[in-house]
Symmetry: C2
Subunit: 202 residues, 2 copies
């Protein structure tokens, strides 16, 4: 099967694509937590070391399967590290900053494709839960009651913001100055994170 090119093993796009396909199937079928590098390698019919070689870690493999526009694991510590105070405004400012920037176009492609392809939808959900909500809770470092419900409320407002500002392009949300969006949506996020909950909260 050798075609005489050099560096074939290291850079073969087929192997990389094979691993990505296998990872998408595994993440979608059994979820991010239960999918193992070993199992993904088995499905792709490659050595597990090759998976590490191409992608480094399972986290990064998940980012690659959805062609994530940025790694929230890198952005979240700066937002959450300073503590609960003002976290809502910092989160919205960072969110709008990323989407207003060059990564925004890929974010739109990702969100759209998730909504029309069930496989991408499951991958985006895994990404939201394991790379955003869970990292956020961990970085916060304080005990948050009902963290999953609070996290899903935060996700609802941020995804809706992306939808109206970048995809549906509802006027005047599209051209609203970032600080106007931060001033209005920041307190919402803050309340979802630390505000009182009703007894019926899951």
């Amino acid at each position: 099967m050798s075609n005489g090119r050099t560096g074939r093993r290291k850079g073969n796009p087929d192997t990389r694509a094979q691993i990505l396909d296998a990872a998408r199937d595994a993440f979608a079928e059994v979820g991010f937590d239960r999918a193992t590098i070993r199992e993904i390698a088995r499905r792709a019919d490659v050595d597990p070391a090759l998976v590490h070689h191409y992608f480094g870690s399972k986290d990064k493999l998940l980012l690659a399967t959805i062609d994530a526009p940025f790694d929230p694991g890198k952005v979240l510590p700066g937002i959450i590290g300073p503590g609960l105070d003002g976290v809502g405004e910092r989160l919205v400012r960072a969110f709008v900053g990323v989407w207003d920037g060059p990564a925004g176009a890929r974010g739109s492609v990702l969100l759209r494709s998730a909504l029309s392809h069930p496989l991408m939808l499951r991958l985006l959900r895994e990404f939201l839960i394991s790379r955003i909500l869970r990292v956020a809770v961990r970085e916060l470092g304080v005990e948050i009651d009902h963290a999953p419900f609070r996290g899903s409320l935060v996700a609802s407002q941020l995804l809706g913001l992306a939808l109206t500002r970048y995809i549906l392009k509802v006027e005047p949300m599209v051209d609203a100055p970032p600080e106007a969006v931060v001033a209005m949506v920041g307190p919402t996020i803050q309340r979802y994170i630390e505000g009182p909950l009703p007894d019926s909260a899951p």
Copy 2:
């Protein structure tokens, strides 16, 4: 062209479909306001009276083009009529009630298809603006400053709620009791409608 069936003129599915196609094109190209029944009839190559016959009004024609799960024009007065007080909670309760019910499946289809088809996207935006935001502002009957910005903030939270609860199905938002969602999201909507705005608000 007669095929001998009776009632052909009244119930011809081709004519209805032709009008719907023409209306989709017209709404998407020039917007709901500037599209006229006369122009839609011209594009469909039928008499304007037939458009009225099949659809009754331009409002109803827009609902038909997107196969809207319900007519917000009918639901909004009950939510908004009682006035500003508690309007946020009433809006979220009604929204969750509709999506939790049998109309929810069609709502999901609509939202998904809008996100993968540019034509449906433009139609959904026209629907949001002309049938929801504008009707809401009119029903409220009081002067609201920066109503379009406030409306787009409300839309962002409600669309995001639909996305997380019904499409992405983020746990535990999916199974949260409606009243828990109302208690958390209602005050957000209320603040977007009547809360203070920053100077930078568009």
